[in-house]
Structures are given as structure tokens and as C-alpha cells.
């Protein structure tokens, strides 16, 4: 059976379980079924370290009865087990309390067409463990050979995931799609002064294996990034401009979503509540959530409520335009869903992003750096220091010191802090170097000033 047939099979199964739930007494039911297979091959210092290969399936069911709901999941898909599973779910729903909002979406809002976004690489089905190991070996070998200062390795990992999912509801929705993802990560290690090790990594990932960077290129870039950290040191505590490279900056873009979604709004877990239509960032900042980009990592043809997905403008030249909502959070806030529901197998739907992209500016990265007399260039951040309720932001950072418009020595073991509202408003330069490497992406950008805590 090809994977294409699997979607049809999963859709049939989802519809059958919807019927089982209805028969067991549910007013309505939604079923999501997923089927995934993974192949992971890891090498270290030229030898195979791990080959992991398996497929798995899971089914999530949400039932509604008398405006009450229950959410359940199982990996046991045998017919008699599913029957009992559906009956148990309906019984479980009695324990919750009636909520007017626990209803399916209006049928006229459901997705009618499921666009083919070219998310599945059929040719990658043929990859076997030997080939995956070979690609990982090539990446690591190039990393080790590129610079003699590389003394060790955390290895190189090639991974391929093939997935199919289907979603069906008693409201009339039934759909599914395939997705694939291939990636290679290489992680060299160097010895630094004082017995410290410096590890770094580089990676390539894409829905189509043919779009991956060559393993050798990934390995060499991993080594460049790792040796560049040698001699990292703290800098003095001060207020400085902070430049975020795209790898570090996308975490900032992700945090914008964490305070600009319907669930955070109704849970009073966002400092942006009441700020729609008002400036929430500098005019240079425009962020779109774009689900229809062919072959993009976060693209999807319909959302977790069965609604069509659409482009949403979250920030438009700094103004907060759209708070991303699923059906439930939208109802809770008295508005319409933005087609942003995500749903794991066996969890409640909630707002999520597809391809969340901070749009590029007109400055080149070189111009941006050249115009920065001194400051911190951040390549990675650590820790969880963000309070969405207040916007307080404080995270560990490492990267390079900027002096006279150029990157100089590497910096580590410092924190950068600001209120997130101020941080977004202080973005004073956005570069044009956007590349969609991951589902949340941004170009290089600069924040005019943040508090850097380090030495003294």
C-alpha cells in the first residue's frame, strides 16, 4: 500500500469511530487519526551509533453530549477495542460541566476543498538505513576534517519522518493529508581553555529531501559555528543594542504568537489584551501567519477544527491586527475563528501557527551590522524567562560582541532583558535576509537597547 492510500484508510477509520461515538450516545464527535513512520540514523566519530526504525498509529476522539465534552486517545485500534473506547468516552463526558461553547463549528464554516500544498516527498519513502547512515557519515566527516580544532563530536543524525493524518467530524468534515520531513544535524565539539568544551551544530531540514543542503556543507558550517565560540567570555553589565540573528530571532517571533492568540487572551495570559488595532511593535515589524506556501514546513490545508486555513496578518507595520483563534477561544472572546486551530492526537484544539514569518526589511545584514557601533549579536538563547502576563523577558544569551560595526570576540554566560512590549517597539532595523528554514522564521533584526547582565 502506498502512503497515498493510507490517508483514505485513516479517513474511513475516523468516520467509523465518529459513528461508533454517535451510536454510544454522543451528540457529536470529532476523530483525528495519525500514522507516522520514522527512520533515524546517528553516527558518531565515524561509526554507526543508532538506527531507529518504526511506525506508529494513534487515534484521538472528542465527544460532545449535552454540551459536555470528553477528550480521549488510544493506540489500540482493533475494532472491538475502539467500540469500548468510544463508549467510555461518552460516559466520561458526563463528568464535565455544560458549556454553551462546546459545540462543533458551524457547518458553513468548514473547509470544502483541501488544497494540495505539495507537503509529501514520495521519493523519500525509498530511503533505507544504510543510505541514512551514509549521509550522516558524510556530514560528520566533513565537520571533523574542516578544522583541526574540532576534537570530538556529538555525532551527526539523519532523520526522515513520513506521516499521514485524517480528521472527521459528525458535522460533516472528512479530510486528510500526507506530510514528510527530512533533516540532517551535525554537532562538532571543540576544547576551550579551562577544560570547557564548546559544542555547536548546524542543520538542514525540509519536506523534500532534495531540498536539503549537501551533508558536507552542513558539516563544514557546523564546524565554522563551533570553532567561532572558542574563547567565549562574559562582557560587562550595560545597556546595549542587541542584534538577533535569524536562528535566535525566531524565538522572539514565536513569543509574539504566545501573547497574540485567543487562548492566551481569554485565559488572561497576555499583556496584549485590549491592544488590538494599536501599535504593539515598531513600524518595521510585520508578521504573517501563512499556511499555504507550497512545500513549507508549517503549511497545512485545513485546521484542527476542520476549517479552511488562511493568511493572517498578526502585526501590520507594528499594529496588532489579528489574534490567532481556534473555534473555542474565538467563541470565548465573542469573535470568529481565524482558522488557526491545532490539535494533537488526544488533546483539545487550541490556537497554533502555520508558517509564522516576520517579513524582511530593506537593509542588508551587512548594512545593519555596519551601522551598529557596539552591541551584542545573539546567535542563541537559553531558558524560559518570559512571562506572557506581564511581558517580562529575561533570557540567557550567547553570540558575538559587535565593535565598530563588526563581529569581534564570542560572548557567553550573559542575559538580555527588557519588557517584551518595549523590546518589540525598539526594533529599529530589519534586514532582508529572510530564509524559510523552519515554520517560524525571521530575518536578522536589531533592538535599539536592552539590559545585558554579565560581569560586575
Amino acid at each position: 500500500m502506498t502512503k497515498r492510500d493510507v490517508v483514505g484508510e485513516l479517513r474511513d477509520l475516523a468516520q467509523q469511530v465518529v459513528q461508533l461515538a454517535r451510536k454510544a450516545g454522543a451528540d457529536d464527535a470529532e476523530v483525528q487519526v495519525s500514522d507516522g513512520s520514522e527512520l533515524t540514523a546517528k553516527v558518531r566519530l565515524g561509526e554507526p551509533e543508532l538506527v531507529q526504525e518504526a511506525g506508529s498509529r494513534g487515534l484521538g476522539l472528542r465527544v460532545f453530549r449535552d454540551l459536555r465534552q470528553a477528550i480521549t486517545f488510544t493506540s489500540d485500534l482493533r475494532p472491538h477495542a475502539l467500540e469500548r473506547f468510544a463508549t467510555d468516552a461518552v460516559a466520561l463526558a458526563r463528568l464535565s460541566e455544560p458549556d454553551e461553547l462546546h459545540r462543533l463549528p458551524d457547518p458553513e464554516h468548514l473547509a470544502r476543498e483541501i488544497p494540495d500544498l505539495d507537503l509529501y516527498d514520495e521519493s523519500s519513502e525509498g530511503l533505507d538505513a544504510a543510505e541514512a547512515l551514509s549521509r550522516a557519515l558524510r556530514g560528520e566527516k566533513a565537520a571533523l576534517a574542516h578544522d583541526s580544532r574540532v576534537t570530538n563530536s556529538e555525532g551527526a543524525t539523519y532523520s526522515r519522518v513520513l506521516g499521514a493524518m485524517a480528521f472527521a467530524t459528525s458535522g460533516g468534515f472528512a479530510g486528510g493529508y500526507l506530510g514528510s520531513y527530512s533533516s540532517l544535524t551535525v554537532e562538532p565539539v571543540c576544547d576551550d581553555e579551562g577544560g570547557k568544551k564548546r559544542n555547536g551544530y548546524w542543520w538542514t531540514a525540509a519536506r523534500f529531501a532534495s531540498a536539503l543542503e549537501e551533508p558536507e556543507e552542513v558539516g563544514r558550517e557546523a564546524t565554522r559555528r563551533t570553532v567561532a565560540q572558542l574563547g567565549s567570555r562574559k562582557v560587562d553589565t550595560s545597556e546595549v543594542p542587541v542584534v538577533f540573528d535569524p536562528e535566535a530571532g525566531r524565538a522572539i517571533v514565536g513569543m509574539v504568537f504566545s501573547v497574540a492568540n485567543g487562548s492566551a487572551f481569554y485565559r488572561k495570559s497576555s499583556y496584549l489584551i485590549g491592544r488590538e488595532g494599536q501599535p504593539a511593535a515598531s513600524e518595521l515589524v510585520t508578521i504573517h501567519d501563512s499556511p499555504h506556501i507550497p512545500r513549507a514546513p508549517g503549511s497545512r490545508p485545513f485546521d484542527g477544527d476542520g476549517l479552511p486555513t488562511r493568511v493572517n496578518v498578526v502585526l501590520d507595520r507594528g499594529v496588532l491586527r489579528t489574534v490567532l483563534c481556534d473555534v473555542y477561544s474565538a467563541r470565548k472572546l465573542g469573535r470568529e475563528s481565524t482558522g488557526s486551530a491545532g490539535r494533537g492526537t488526544g488533546s483539545s484544539p487550541g490556537p497554533t501557527t502555520s508558517n509564522l514569518i516576520m517579513q524582511p526589511g530593506v537593509t542588508t545584514r551587512e548594512q545593519l551590522l555596519a551601522s551598529t557601533e557596539r552591541g551584542l549579536y545573539v546567535t542563541s538563547m537559553m531558558g524560559f524567562g518570559f512571562n506572557p502576563v506581564t511581558g517580562d523577558f529575561s533570557r540567557g544569551a550567547s553570540g558575538f560582541w559587535i565593535e565598530n560595526g563588526e563581529l569581534t570576540f564570542p560572548v557567553s554566560e550573559v542575559t538580555i532583558s527588557a519588557n517584551f512590549d518595549d523590546l518589540l517597539k525598539r526594533i529599529d532595523l530589519v534586514a532582508d535576509d529572510l530564509v524559510l528554514r523552519s515554520s517560524t522564521a525571521c530575518p536578522t533584526f536589531r533592538v535599539s537597547h536592552m539590559t545585558l547582565a554579565g560581569r560586575g
Binding site: 558518531r44 561509526e47 551509533e49 543508532l50 538506527v51 531507529q52 526504525e53 518504526a54 494513534g58 465534552q69 470528553a70 477528550i71 480521549t72 486517545f73 488510544t74 493506540s75 489500540d76 472491538h80 467510555d88 466520561l92 463528568l95 464535565s96 460541566e97 458549556d99 538505513a129 570530538n152 556529538e154 570547557k196 568544551k197 564548546r198 559544542n199 562574559k234 553589565t237 485565559r267 488572561k268 495570559s269 499583556y271 488526544g346 488533546s347 537559553m382 531558558g383 524560559f384 524567562g385 512571562n387 502576563v389 517580562d392 529575561s394 540567557g396 550567547s398 557567553s412 554566560e413 542575559t415 538580555i416 532583558s417 519588557n419 539590559t451 547582565a453 554579565g454 560581569r455 560586575g456
Partner: protein, 481 residues
């Protein structure tokens, strides 16, 4: 089908009962290509969750996962495969796939399989999964009411209860047969306080390998957590900007163990030491912390969230001293690293599920108490930060840099706790920070059961513990310079 839904289908009397003969056949298939060692990891997990929001039970959930993971070792290389389907054909298929890591041939000697006698560190008379759901909902309501009653500025309360029973059976080609049933429960409350345009939230929770009665007893019951969440949210309404720069920091007891977990714990997991990629590699017998510091990883603490009767390689849970009076004396091992270092298993081979291979992981990691009273520690600080509650931490294993996020902290001025501070990070280097522990309290406490540790994409429940700790210099990542 087994009549008890909480009993694993692979247990005796279950639909997919696994006996020594089936296990032997699967192990033989796994080793038919010439692997050195194989193990079978059967897992059955049943979980439930209850969420109360806006004074209503918003959702109830339940989940079942079951499967077999097969691991084959050949030298330092691992072959891994799993199956959710426990029919013999599918299990045999997984065994053969995992066995392909070894390219040769050969026949493994059939072994005699014997049950491992395991301790019981978490006897629970009535697992919460067997208790009437109404009792669980009553806990949520009690926390909700307590938080709302605490102060009129509390505008929103959420409460949740998550419970599970995980049954594992590990059979190895060494001939061991280990079976454990691991209950786990976690209760949590979040409260939002609002006044004059200011908004803050606070959270409190607890749990462990315990029954429902843990939240109804004399100690920290459901209502206590409700009040505590409300108290923190209200206290934080007056929080001021935290200072930036290096200063003295005092860590409160219990949850501060997260710092220990990040700063030194991960670096002492022997997979990194085996590969020579941790800054603690090759440091056995050397001074790595101040004389005050004795660090223990203890999987045997009664009912704690991180305790295990058997690890996920079938070895009994143990207590291991890692650092003794400042000297590194041991690492935490899984099978691969124990073999590499020619030491015995330490009971630290853990995994998230049958879909994951085991790694050296912490259980309950503690800093043993010291000679000082908490009062004299605070009194010794001219200006610094007192850290009470944390949202988590992260470490870079290779260089030891770690961060640690505070959600409730206070300024210390002239030996006294003064103003509450906004959320802030501490950043430091693990090996350096442990040499800067200059005072250690006598007030050791184990954390309540709320912590989950993530490593290489795998999550496992853990515990932490410390007394009050004084660190004479660490960078505080505030905004006020």
C-alpha cells in the same frame, strides 16, 4: 480481555500475556544477526486529566498507550524498533528490525529468564485511577474556591489534575525479568490577580507517586495550593524591576534543586562522560565543588515523583552519591556507559516511553544539608536576591553554562527580605557556581512532585531537593543596571 482496565494486557491473564517463552523467542530473533545484547520493553500507560476553568469542569480526558520497544546493542551501536501491536508477528518484526544493527550472523545461547526482586518505594493502596472521579472534581473545586476567597483581586483561577499508571516489563538477554507499576499524580493551580491595570499570575502544585489522599490530608491539600497560587499572584502585583549584574544570591529550600539539576546533574550523566563531551568528563576523584557540597541522586525516596523501583533497563532503583564533600565520586549510568566504565548499573537508565531508547537520567537529585541556619544565611547578605520559586532551567552540557528562571524572588537588603522582584533569570557556569557555595542551610527539603526533565526530546518525571543555599556570586539577569 482482562477484566481490570488498569492491568496491562501483557500481564498475566491479559489478552497479550507475555511469558518467558515468548520473551525468549523474541530475544532470539533480535540477536539472530549477531547482536551482543537485546532487551524488550513492554509498556502500558493509562492516563486521565481533569481541567477546571472559570469555575467549570471544562474537560475530562483519558488516554491509553501500549507498545513494545526492542533494543539490540552491537558494540557501542544501538538498533531500536517498536510496535504498538502486540501480536507475535508484529513483535517479531520489530525484533528483527532492531537486530539489523548487527550485520553478521550467529545464534545466541538461550538464557534462563529469572524475575528480579524489586523494592517498593511507592506503595499506593488506592491508585487515583481507581477512585471515583467526583472526588477528583471536588479537589479542583476546593482549590478554585480557596483561591477566589483569598482576595477579591483574584480574577481567574484554573485547576488541573493529571494522573497515570504506567506498567512496564523489561526482559533482557542477560536473563532478567523486571516488572514495575508506577503511579503518578500531579495537581496544579494557576491564579490571576488584577488591580488598577496591573495583572500577574501565580502557580502552585504538587504530587508524586501517590494516591488522591495526598491532596486531602493535613499537609499541602488542594485548597492550600489554591491559596498559594493566589498569594504569589498578589505578591507579584507589587514586583519591581530586578537588578542586573553579579551579586550574592540565596536559594530557598526544595525547588532550588532545579539549579543543581541543571548546573551539575546533567553533566554527571555518564553518556556525556563516556563520549568526553561534558565538562565533567574525566574528572573522577577531582574537586568540582566547595567542601560543603554533597550531591546525591536517589531513586529510592518514598513516593517521590522521581523514584523508581526499576529503571527502564530493568535495574532496581538506587541511591548514588555523585559529589562527596566537593569531590566527584560517581556518574549516573545506563547500560552502555556502565559497560564503558566497567561499573555496575546505577539504576539511572530511563526512557520516556517504548518509542524511546534509554539514556542515563536523574531520579531525585539533592544537595545534602549543611551547618547553617537559614536566618544566619540571609543575615549575611548586604544586597542580593532571595529566590523562592522557579519555572525551570536549561544547561549546555558541553561548557556547563546554565540558566534558571525565577518566578518568585525578593530583594535582600542588609540581611532582610524586602521587595518582590519581577521574573528574572540567573545565569552561571555549573562547575564555577558549585565552588561558590559558601553557606549551606540545615533546612533540607525535597521538592513537591511537579518537575519534568527534558533531554534529547525525552521527558521523564524527576524530583529535586536542597537546603537554603548561599552563592557568593552569580549573574542576575534583571533590567536595572
Amino acid at each position: 480481555m482482562s477484566s481490570d482496565p488498569l492491568s496491562a494486557p501483557f500481564a498475566q491473564g491479559g489478552e497479550y500475556q507475555v511469558d518467558a517463552d515468548i520473551a525468549r523467542r523474541l530475544l532470539a530473533l533480535a540477536l539472530e544477526r549477531g547482536g551482543d545484547y537485546a532487551d524488550l520493553y513492554f509498556e502500558y500507560r493509562i492516563s486521565g486529566d481533569f481541567v477546571l476553568e472559570d469555575e467549570q469542569v471544562k474537560a475530562v480526558g483519558r488516554g491509553i498507550t501500549m507498545g513494545l520497544g526492542v533494543r539490540v546493542l552491537k558494540g557501542d551501536a544501538t538498533g531500536y524498533a517498536y510496535s504498538e501491536d502486540l501480536s507475535f508477528e508484529r513483535m517479531a518484526h520489530a525484533a528483527r528490525i532492531a537486530g539489523q544493527i548487527a550485520a553478521g550472523g550467529g545464534t545466541a545461547e538461550p538464557v534462563e529468564i529469572k524475575p528480579v526482586v524489586l523494592p517498593d518505594f511507592y506503595p499506593v493502596a488506592d491508585p487515583s485511577m481507581t477512585m471515583p472521579p467526583e472526588e477528583k472534581l471536588a479537589l479542583l473545586r476546593s482549590a478554585d474556591r480557596a483561591a477566589r476567597a483569598y482576595d477579591s483581586r483574584i480574577t481567574k483561577v484554573e485547576a488541573s489534575l493529571v494522573e497515570q499508571i504506567r506498567e512496564i516489563l523489561v526482559v533482557t538477554s542477560d536473563g532478567t525479568w523486571s516488572r514495575d507499576r508506577q503511579p503518578l499524580i500531579r495537581f496544579g493551580v494557576r491564579a490571576v490577580a488584577e488591580t488598577e491595570g496591573k495583572r500577574q499570575s501565580g502557580s502552585s502544585g504538587g504530587g508524586g507517586r501517590r494516591g488522591l489522599d495526598y491532596f486531602t490530608g493535613d499537609g499541602k491539600d488542594a485548597a492550600w495550593h489554591g491559596r498559594e497560587a493566589a498569594r504569589i499572584a498578589l505578591a507579584m502585583l507589587d514586583a519591581r524591576d530586578a537588578p542586573a549584574g553579579e551579586m550574592e544570591v540565596v536559594l530557598g529550600p526544595a525547588d532550588s534543586g532545579i539549579l543543581l539539576h541543571e548546573a551539575v546533574g546533567h553533566g554527571l550523566e555518564a553518556d556525556f562522560a563516556r563520549k568526553g563531551t561534558s565538562n565533567y568528563s574525566g574528572q573522577l576523584g577531582q574537586k568540582v565543588a566547595s567542601d560543603l557540597c554533597t550531591v546525591v541522586d536517589d531513586g529510592t525516596i518514598q513516593s517521590s515523583r522521581g523514584s523508581i523501583n526499576a529503571d527502564d533497563e530493568g535495574n532496581p532503583g538506587q541511591s548514588n552519591v555523585l559529589i562527596e564533600n566537593g569531590t566527584l565520586v560517581g556518574y549516573m549510568h545506563d547500560r552502555l556507559s556502565a559497560r564503558h566504565f566497567h561499573v555496575n548499573a546505577s539504576g539511572n537508565g530511563r526512557r520516556q516511553s517504548f518509542r524511546h531508547m534509554p539514556m542515563p537520567r536523574m531520579t531525585n537529585t539533592s544537595l545534602r544539608p549543611g551547618p547553617h541556619s537559614p536566618e544566619e544565611i540571609l543575615a549575611s547578605i548586604k544586597r542580593g536576591v532571595y529566590a523562592v520559586r522557579f519555572s525551570g532551567g536549561q544547561v549546555n552540557i558541553s561548557n556547563g553554562d546554565f540558566v534558571f528562571s525565577l518566578t518568585e524572588s525578593y530583594l535582600i537588603e542588609d540581611g532582610k527580605i524586602t521587595a518582590p522582584l519581577k521574573g528574572v533569570n540567573l545565569i552561571g557556569n555549573g562547575p564555577e557556581v558549585l565552588t561558590r557555595v559558601t553557606m549551606l542551610g540545615s533546612d533540607y527539603e525535597l521538592s513537591d512532585g511537579i518537575w519534568t526533565c527534558g533531554k534529547e526530546g525525552q521527558s521523564v518525571p524527576v524530583g529535586v531537593g536542597t537546603p537554603t543555599v548561599k552563592i557568593d556570586r552569580i549573574t542576575v539577569g534583571g533590567t536595572r543596571t
